[in-house]
């Protein structure tokens, strides 16, 4: 069972789309399989296009916790003034 397309990253979806197209172009499979492949290809393409159109850059900052553990903390405001060399 192929993974749910909605959970694929852009790279995963694009890689599978390229693979699918290559397989379809090679031909040889039964019509039924070709159609299923095409259908999945269309969904993969849509997934990629949506990711491209709707993506928002995630911005985080590495912060060092007591004991040396590192955490990437979400940054929102565009121009947060933060001291350098900490965290």
């Amino acid at each position: 069972m192929p993974p749910d397309i909605a959970n694929l990253t852009f790279d995963e979806a694009l890689a599978e789309l390229q693979r699918t197209v290559a397989e379809l172009e090679a031909g040889g499979g039964p019509l039924e399989a070709s159609i299923a492949g095409y259908e999945r290809g269309v969904a993969l393409h849509e997934r990629c296009a949506v990711l491209l159109a709707d993506a928002e850059l995630r911005v985080r900052r590495l912060v060092e916790r007591a004991g040396g553990a590192l955490e990437a903390v979400e940054l929102r405001s565009d121009d947060e003034a933060l001291p350098d060399g900490q965290g």
Partner: protein, 496 residues
């Protein structure tokens, strides 16, 4: 030019020509202009007193008396002939600086015992980023020449740099040579950058314009990414340690993500960046510790320090050198618009292959219909069916099943494809309707080849379908895959 006019500049026509401006400290302001040492002959008599009468003393014993200009030219020629004076670097402290209204700078260079007057012409001075000021230690480059009208020698300056620059430059070259010899700058150890990084680490100052610029470029070009800042100081004495620590944090974080089973969160490329600044500001990026941290960094690293013309050892050590921090961000990610275009091309290929698949299926059906058309008129078809008879039923069923499957698949396909690809399958369906009749194409021979036989009554040629069609004694003709047999019926074995 007015920006550099000395406060003492006299207004308007009072101003002396450039060459007459005081140009060195030692000359007291009130001292009269140097006089020609040779008395000016006022009369024939005084001339006669000084000059020996020709003929009285042989020429070779006469003292050689030269004109001022001649002496000056002798000195000038001697100065110009000395290669050491043609291309000199002179280090010293800047004395008083005067800038004429024409924009030329006059100053002296001093050390404990001597001083040297210098002139720096406007064109050279204006392109220099550095301006000599009284009290600064500088290194001036130029040539020594003699200025006839004032009878002075001076340094004609081509460039001026702060003293100590030479030390820095020397240290830079020495370290560069040493690290290069270790192979730290080898092209062979440069790693390729990932194509579409999901997580990008940035080591820079959190408060500067650089971090802001990098974020905005990433936002515009490839917002699918995540950017993780490891803030560090990028100038001053603590900067090298801070940069090294930031790179180490990035490495440790990436490792931690993988170890925690979240490899997708781990940064896959690092940008090390700093905005423009003076040579001293950028010096942290020539620090050996920073260079070694870059080389040891586990992720491919793009370095962008200062402006395009600034080159640091960090740039040499990095996997990729970007001319500016914004350019580093552009190098690291693809452009969303271009990727979208590539994606559209992929969709085009997908649609193309679907269209070809469907039209190939349609062509097969069309071929069958054409074959069927070839079998008309109907009586020929009927005759053929009659000949094939019951033995074809089986084949008919089989092929009908196959056709039915293909047809069902096409119907499903069309339902799926309709919204996206406008393919009309109507024609294919029409030919499918005639699909049953197309079986005649197969003819009886194929069935006979598989070991079946066709049995007819010899008298009227009717094909036998029921046992009681041939009571005992009826003459039969049996058609085999090759040839026919004559036979006589023994009658039905069981009553039909």
């Amino acid at each position: 030019m007015s920006r550099r006019d000395p406060p003492s500049a006299r207004p308007g026509g009072d101003e002396p020509p450039d060459w007459a401006l005081p140009s060195w400290d030692a000359l007291p302001e009130d001292e009269p202009a140097p006089r020609a040492t040779r008395p000016v002959p006022a009369t024939e008599t005084s001339e006669a007193l000084i000059r020996p009468r020709p003929g009285l003393i042989p020429d070779q014993f006469r003292p050689a008396i030269l004109g001022v200009t001649e002496v000056t030219h002798v000195i000038r020629d001697a100065v110009r002939a000395d290669e050491r004076l043609r291309d000199v670097w002179v280090e010293g402290e800047v004395g008083r600086v005067t800038i004429s209204s024409a924009g030329h700078a006059y100053f002296t260079l001093k050390d404990e015992r001597s001083q040297l007057s210098c002139i720096w012409f406007r064109d050279d001075r204006l392109v220099s980023p550095f301006e000599p000021r009284t009290g600064l230690r500088v290194v001036a480059h130029g040539r020594i020449d003699v200025f006839d009208q004032q009878g002075v020698y001076q340094l004609y300056v081509s460039s001026v740099q702060p003293a100590g620059f030479g030390d820095l430059a020397l240290r830079f070259e020495e370290l560069k040579a040493r690290l290069a010899a270790e192979g730290l700058f080898d092209a062979a150890r440069k790693r390729p950058l990932p194509l579409r990084p999901a997580v990008i680490a940035v080591a820079t100052s959190a408060s500067g314009a650089v971090w802001h610029d990098i974020r905005h470029v990433l936002e515009r070009r490839w917002p699918l990414a995540e950017v993780v800042l490891a803030a560090c100081q990028v100038q001053g004495e603590p900067a090298p340690t801070s940069i090294v620590a930031a790179l180490a944090r990035i490495a440790r974080y990436a490792e931690g993500c993988v170890a925690a089973g979240r490899p997708a969160d781990a940064p896959v490329v690092t940008i090390l960046a700093r905005g423009g600044g003076s040579l001293e500001d950028l010096w942290s990026f020539n620090d050996e510790r920073v260079v070694r941290a870059i080389v040891a960094h586990p992720l491919p690293l793009v370095c962008a320090v200062g402006h395009e013309t600034d080159v640091t050892l960090a740039d040499f050590a990095a996997d990729v050198r970007a001319p500016t921090p914004s350019a580093a961000a552009e190098i690291v990610v693809p452009d969303r618009v271009q990727v979208a275009a590539g994606l559209a091309a992929e969709a085009q290929r997908l649609t193309g292959v679907a269209q070809r698949t469907v039209s190939a299926a349609r062509r097969e059906l069309d071929a069958e219909r054409r074959a069927l058309d070839g079998l008309r008129p109907a009586d020929r078809l009927a005759q053929a069916r009659e000949r094939a008879g019951v033995l074809l039923d089986r084949a008919t069923r089989t092929v009908l099943e196959q056709l039915g499957m293909a047809r069902a698949a096409e119907q499903r396909a069309e339902a799926r494809l309709r919204p996206i690809v406008a393919i009309r399958l109507g024609a294919a369906h029409a030919s499918l309707d005639a699909g049953a009749a197309a079986l005649a194409v197969l003819g009886p021979q194929a069935t006979l080849d598989r070991g079946y036989a066709i049995v007819r009554r010899s008298d009227d040629g009717r094909i036998l379908r029921r046992a009681d069609d041939a009571r005992a004694g009826v003459m039969l003709t049996i058609r085999l895959a090759a040839g026919e047999l004559g036979a006589t019926s023994d009658g039905p074995l069981e009553p039909g």
